[in-house]
């Protein structure tokens, strides 16, 4: 926790805050941090229900949020991520900051109609994001 506090202190704005409790809340409960978000769609919305028989709904989820300056074990990020952050901050801001991306996925079973009218049940890898990371 001390390490985290130190990280937060580095991010402290130059202007001193007037409401200290609000100021510290942002460190205890960081906003917009990289995390998994729910997203659900129905194949009929895409008009794919003509060829996808099941499932009717699909939750691919997605990752969104800010990556902290110092990514720790929580994100399982490689050292490269930290190096890239340093490059962005110290050397060249055209190098992008690390991105919040899926780290793990789960499979999805899909039942489809093929163009020849045959039916296929298939299990596809990496169809639903289940964990996010900063890379």
């Amino acid at each position: 926790s001390r390490r985290r506090r130190d990280e937060n202190l580095k991010e402290a704005p130059a202007t001193p805050p007037y409401n200290l409790s609000e100021y510290f809340k942002q460190f205890l409960f960081p906003q917009n941090e990289c995390e998994l978000h729910n997203f659900r769609l129905s194949f009929s919305q895409l008009k794919w229900d003509k060829w996808i028989i099941a499932p009717h709904r699909y939750s691919p989820q997605y990752c969104k949020g800010d990556c902290p300056r110092v990514v720790g074990h929580r994100y399982g990020s490689p050292v490269h991520t930290m190096v890239q952050n340093i490059i962005y901050e110290k050397l060249d801001s055209s190098v992008p900051k690390p991105s919040c991306v899926p780290a793990e996925y789960s499979p999805l079973s899909v039942l489809t109609i093929e163009p020849d009218g045959s039916i296929v049940y298939k299990e596809y890898e990496d169809m639903i994001a289940t964990k996010c990371t900063c890379r």
Binding site: I53, G117, S118, V120, Y121, E123, I128
Partner: protein, 300 residues
């Protein structure tokens, strides 16, 4: 940037989609790293969606042939048994297949079919086109799938005899091909417990599918009688089940990277040593009614 000519000649793009899908025109995707591109082979229609500028054309895609409603019901049931409501493959079902394809017979050789119907109502000529089976899909099991219609009387037991012949094409002849080899099965079951009859023809079709035969032509003679010879019940009253041509069901292991490999996943999760792959141990079968989807022991 890749020119169209370069894309076509790029051997790595051959894996992207089948040639007929015109996906080689998708330059933006082909600029992606190989590992990322690989995923787009997953569902060619996805690729088409991403390729169409303005997304105008993909919704007006030519309508697909509609499958037989009975076949669709069977596959929906298979889906329910193999995946959760959310579509996640069931982890506790330790089946080896990650792909199941159901083919209904083509309507070729109808003239021959009609001739046979006059003399022998049970003999049916079947042609299955297996073009959709990819080179990376390896056959685990093949099944001829018969469905009973509701007009079949509820009976205590039924015994069926099936005679199956695979035909070789003689391209010099205009008439239907000649027989090559045949096999006979005998089945006994109770109609009230099952609406489907599955005839395992794996050993019979394996050599044909393994040699990438695209068309499988067979003649099936399926005769069902009421009664059970094992219980000394007299066989009588033939039942017309062969009037509905059977479907061909292929249980496959898709070895492509976009397909889900259950055993890899389990190994990773449990940190167990590699479990041997047993080609014929399909532990889940969508035979439907109570107790019929049990492990292979009963069926064997």
């Amino acid at each position: 940037p890749h020119s169209r000519g370069r894309v076509v000649s790029d051997k790595t793009s051959g894996f992207l989609v089948a040639p007929e899908d015109n996906a080689s025109e998708l330059n933006p995707l082909l600029r992606l790293p190989k590992g990322v591109r690989r995923g787009y082979a997953l569902l060619p229609p996805l690729l088409k969606v991403l390729s169409d500028q303005g997304h105008q054309n993909w919704e007006s895609e030519a309508p697909r042939l509609q499958p037989d409603s009975r076949a669709l019901r069977y596959m929906k049931r298979l889906y329910k048994m193999s995946a959760t409501k959310e579509g996640i493959p069931k982890a506790n079902k330790s089946h080896l297949y990650n792909t199941v394809r159901l083919f209904t017979p083509c309507s070729e050789c109808k003239h021959r079919h009609r001739d046979l119907m006059k003399g022998d109502v049970h003999s049916v000529d079947l042609l299955f086109n297996l073009d959709r089976v990819t080179a990376l899909e390896h056959l685990l099991k093949s099944v001829l799938l018969y469905s009973f219609d509701t007009s079949v009387p509820i009976s205590s037991s039924i015994t069926c005899m099936c005679h199956l012949s695979v035909k070789e094409h003689d391209f010099s002849s205009q008439v239907c091909p000649s027989f090559s080899h045949s096999i006979a099965f005998s089945l006994h079951f109770e109609v009230r417990k099952r609406k489907w009859v599955e005839i395992d023809v794996t050993s019979f079709l394996q050599p044909l599918i393994a040699t990438k035969r695209r068309n499988i032509h067979m003649a099936v003679n399926f005769t069902c009688l009421v009664g059970d010879p094992q219980q000394n019940t007299k066989l009588e009253n033939p039942i017309n089940v062969a009037l509905v041509p059977p479907s061909l069901l292929l249980y496959l292991n898709d070895t492509s990277e976009q397909a889900y490999h259950r055993w890899n996943s389990l190994r990773h999760r449990r940190k167990n040593p590699a479990r041997p792959r047993q080609r014929n141990s399909l532990l889940v079968e969508p035979t439907g009614d109570k107790g019929e989807g049990k492990p292979q022991g009963k069926r064997a």
